[in-house]
């Protein structure tokens, strides 16, 4: 079986210390004001006395989905799902920074990197993994709420947790079901907060008709250049709304 790298998270263990977010920012040189990962607090009424026991803080990041809408939204194929590892990858060399993929993620895991001006998101720290280290967020987590690994490998820490808790695993739902590979043990805390994936209609059309219009794809290259031009002249702000109709 192919690998499927994933995170198995116990949200009940998260103390919201932001260690994972800080570690990620340093490890990946994430620009000021931008983030590859997050901790979402549960908005529950403050009540004295016994607790209702629900998880209060939910660690998250790109969920490396089975059906990644971001891949569908990418005009150049820069964003793709790596068959070997199941990781949704951005090939920076191919990314033209058009921003299509940003609203296409129902979990808002993507942003346009203010420095590189390309799409950016969690990639499970490939450099660290090459050095035999876990992703920065996992390594640094005080309570080890985040566990990373190949869930298809029954020997891996993530695989063990995945199997042991099979019955209780939950995913954060979105209006578009992308089949995320981020599993929460038991109560994930904040519920179905994912929104609808917004994929530009032109991209959907192109993808559907792709088998017979490779020539037209070539034409889209011109569009790519146009988008590149727009990216070069556009501000570096994280506001991506202007790109949603591209």
């Amino acid at each position: 079986m192919a690998q499927q790298f994933a995170m198995v998270i116990d949200a009940a263990k998260c103390i919201d210390c932001k260690g994972c977010v800080a570690a990620c920012k340093v490890a990946n040189e994430v620009p000021e004001g931008q983030f590859r990962n997050w901790i979402k607090p549960t908005d529950v009424p403050v009540r004295p006395g016994p607790s209702n026991g629900t998880a209060k803080f939910q660690p998250g990041a790109c969920m490396h989905c089975e059906n990644p809408t971001c891949v569908a939204a990418c005009p150049t194929g820069a964003t793709y799902r790596d068959e070997e590892t199941g990781i949704v990858v951005i090939d920076e060399a191919l990314c033209i920074g058009c921003g299509n993929c940003i609203p296409a993620c129902p979990y808002d895991a993507r942003y346009r990197n203010a420095v590189t001006r390309k799409a950016d998101k969690c990639n499970y720290c490939p450099e660290r993994r090459a050095a035999g280290l876990p992703p920065a967020c996992v390594d640094t987590c005080p309570t080890k709420a985040r566990v990373f690994g190949d869930i298809n490998d029954p020997q891996s820490a993530a695989g063990i947790l995945f199997r042991k808790n099979k019955e209780r695993l939950a995913r954060v739902a979105a209006k578009t079901d992308t089949k995320p590979n981020m599993y929460y043990i038991g109560d994930p805390g904040p519920g179905a907060w994912g929104r609808e994936a917004v994929v530009p209609a032109s991209m959907v059309a192109m993808k559907e008709s792709a088998p017979f219009i490779k020539g037209i794809v070539a034409l889209s290259g011109l569009g790519v250049l146009a988008m590149l031009g727009r990216q070069l002249f556009a501000g570096s702000g994280s506001d991506h709304k202007e790109d949603t109709d591209a």
């Binding site: 340093v26 004295p48 090939d91 660290r128 790519v224």
Partner: protein, 724 residues
């Protein structure tokens, strides 16, 4: 053919890259999923962004630290590094760091500086110290040093210079709590959080104010080991949110709660009679003492239902001795804070939560030895510290900063005119900032050694840039990691020192050699470490290999067949020494004055992303905490016509500050809260200067009657909406 292959093949990528940042990158056959191993070196060190000293591994590339990772072999910190630890890089490479010695040119605090060479700076520091000694005796010079592995060299210098006046940060933090437990158990305990079955977290916030290993062990205990966690806090902290039960206790009433627990435990015979008979002193007196403190009485005081108080007492007792009233760390809250914490210690003593799994633990053997020296004797000197005899049970080696400050201002009983400060920031941490400014103005000469222009440095005469923790060689330090370990750590440079920074040791050595005191600093740090580890000679090599050395010392049963270091040689529920000194031998509860109408009690506290003033200028942490706000209860805000985000003026008897209101249900209606460290005087702290409010400008400077520890929860404030 996928779109990716198509674009790669068609060369459009290369076209796209033209003019873009990756000019050549486009043609490279990049496989983002399997990049090369990073070209970094890994070097051990120990974090210094707070007092915990968590083990870390610095990833260094071309002489630059790229990432700080946790040392997985470091048991005390359970192989973790928090947000602040990760942000150590931002401290080391902070563009606001001090770069070279600076001499004040304008008026004090005006911010006019002249860059001077090191030799001139050290000559001047030494000459001023000599002058102060000639005019005012050695005790006319005050030395203040923060928590640091080089701090022992400040103490050594002060002693050989002849001054008894050394203060630390601890009297703005924890000395009253230490006093209380010392005067009950004969030593300051560690908490076996990991193995506890019932933890009462009162006046502590362990999931935000991180203490290793307690914070991490607390989650393991409640999540994996079936431990129950009860939190009493006027704020709905993250600890409160993650507790099994939380009660927004009325501030200042913790003692009533503890005495009511003791009342139930004693009257319902819930303690182990054999333990109490054999190991404790004063059960008769305690039994009589707690009779008026019924759960009903405590309920009225604390605002917690009486039946819950009684139930919690029974639960705590049922889990004993694997249960605890958590001792806490910062106890600088009320004027009777030693007595408040005595009530915590007494409940633990009564239940025998001591020296056994899940309770409080005695200190373990680390194996490090001191490095002795014979300080010279000065005939012409004062008899004692300036703060001596002003509170009955001060820790001599910590002093009381607030009592010292009052004494300096009054020249009582003698003048102090010189001040040397290393890596602590009383101007930014001591309550009533105006008085600290007055104290500065009283000085002939103030030298500050730090890595940044703190507010204390900002008001000084001479500012010397020290090295950060990643640049210097540090002596060994023994750490107690509760049940996790007793260990030894050291630091070696992981990068070359930045700018002209120097380690404190070199600075002390330089000043000493200019004052004929060079013989007391005639060694290297490496030699010093050899002396420290003379009884554990393998330790240095092990630290080089693992980043830490563990001493396999005994954890439990340390007191089997041993006496306690108290007058009765037992755990003192009733403190005989206090009786002899005219202090309450058992804690007497005095109901706190409530805030007057339309006023609020100000409380202080932490979150996991700040370490008071030392991180307010950290660019990475600034992204998480861009400034401080005033937590104001929703109902109270509505009464005052204040909306979330409104600018408000907060006024106390000693100062006024402005900041934005954060309207929230997470705080009692009679209490307000803000983080410390903001609105610095120093303009060379560009992220915290003019940002938010300074809490120490607002806090009144009361202190604990027994230890002189600051009481930072006794100030009442008014809150008014600022009209734009």
């Amino acid at each position: 053919m996928s779109r990716r292959d198509f674009f790669r093949a068609s060369g459009l990528v290369a076209a796209g890259a033209v003019g873009g940042p990756a000019l050549l990158g486009g043609l490279k056959k990049a496989r983002a999923a399997s990049p090369a191993k990073p070209a970094w070196d890994s070097r051990f060190s120990v974090c210094d962004i707070c007092f915990n000293k968590c083990g870390l591994i610095a990833r260094v590339e071309d002489g630059v630290v790229k990432k700080l990772d946790p040392n997985p072999k470091f048991l005390k910190s359970r192989g973790m590094l928090c947000a602040r630890g990760n942000a150590g890089i931002a401290q080391v490479y902070d563009p606001d760091r001090l770069k070279h010695p600076l001499l004040r040119k304008g008026a004090r605090g005006e911010g006019k500086w002249q860059r001077i060479p090191w030799d001139e700076a050290l000559d001047m520091a030494a000459q001023k110290m000599v002058e102060v000694r000639e005019k005012y005796t050695s005790c006319g010079h005050l030395f203040t040093a923060g928590t640091d592995l080089h701090t022992q060299f400040v103490s050594r210098f002060a002693e050989v210079y002849g001054s008894f006046n050394v203060t630390s940060h601890e009297s703005l933090c924890l000395v009253s709590g230490s006093r209380a437990f010392l005067d009950t158990f004969g030593e300051v305990p560690f908490a076996d959080v990991l193995n506890s079955k019932y933890i009462m977290m009162v006046g502590a916030n362990r999931f935000e104010a991180l203490v290793t290993p307690d914070s991490i062990d607390l989650m393991t205990a409640i999540h994996e080991n079936g431990c129950k966690l009860v939190t009493l806090d006027p704020r709905y902290t993250k600890t409160a949110a993650l507790s099994h039960e939380w009660y927004p206790v009325r501030p200042g009433t913790d003692m009533a709660f503890m005495l009511a627990l003791a009342h139930v435990i004693i009257n319902e015979n819930l303690y182990d009679p054999q333990w109490v008979e054999e190991k404790t002193f004063g059960i008769e007196q305690l039994t009589a003492h707690v009779q008026p403190y019924t759960p009903g009485f405590a309920a009225e005081q604390c605002g917690i239902p009486a039946e819950d108080i009684a139930r919690m007492a029974r639960e705590l007792a049922a889990a004993a001795p694997a249960s605890m009233v958590y001792p806490g760390r910062r106890t600088s809250d009320y004027e009777d804070s030693t007595q408040i914490r005595r009530s915590f210690a007494i409940v633990n003593g009564l239940l025998g939560n001591w020296d056994k799994p899940g309770g409080l633990l005695a200190a373990r053997q680390v194996g490090l030895k001191g490095v002795p020296y014979d300080a010279p004797w000065y005939d012409e000197n004062q008899e004692d510290r300036i703060d001596a005899g002003k509170v009955p049970m001060m820790f001599e080696h910590e002093g009381s900063f607030l009592v010292t400050r009052d004494s300096v201002l009054a020249d009582d009983p003698y003048p102090i005119r010189g001040w040397f400060v290393y890596k602590t920031n009383p101007m930014g941490t001591a309550p009533n900032r105006k008085k600290t400014i007055e104290m500065m103005n009283k000085m002939d000469f103030v030298t500050v050694v730090d890595i940044a222009m703190s507010d204390t440095a900002w008001m000084a005469d001479l500012v010397l840039p020290s090295q950060s923790y990643l640049e210097r060689t540090d002596p060994c330090s023994g750490l107690q990691g509760s049940v996790a370990c007793a260990c030894v750590v050291k630091r070696d440079p992981v990068i070359e020192p930045l700018y002209e920074s120097r380690p404190l040791f070199d600075i002390m050595k330089g000043i000493a050699s200019r004052m004929d005191l060079g013989e007391f600093f005639d060694f290297t740090i490496e030699e010093y470490r050899e002396m420290q580890t003379r009884e554990i000679p393998e330790a240095l090599g092990v630290m080089d290999r693992d980043g830490v050395y563990y001493n396999p010392s005994k954890v439990y049963g340390i007191y089997d067949g041993r006496i306690y270091k108290t007058l009765s040689k037992k755990v003192e529920l009733y403190n005989q020494r206090y009786e002899q000194m005219g202090l309450d031998p058992l804690p007497n509860y005095t109901p706190p004055a409530g805030p007057p109408k339309n006023q609020f009690r100000m409380v202080i506290g932490r979150n996991a992303m700040i370490t008071q003033t030392s991180t307010a200028n950290n660019a990475l942490l600034h992204e998480f905490v861009p400034g401080n706000t005033l937590w104001l209860n929703t109902e109270s805000a509505a009464n005052l016509g204040i909306a979330d985000g409104d600018l408000v003026e907060v006024a106390s008897p000693v100062g006024r500050q402005e900041l934005k209101a954060e309207v929230t249900d997470k705080i009692r209606p009679d209490t307000v809260f803000m983080l410390s460290g903001y609105n610095t005087l120093s303009t060379m702290q560009s992220l915290s200067h003019g940002n938010g409010a300074s809490i120490n400008e607002l806090l009144d400077d009361d202190y604990d009657a027994i230890t002189g520890n600051a009481s930072m929860h006794t100030t009442f404030v008014t809150v008014t909406r600022k009209v734009a």
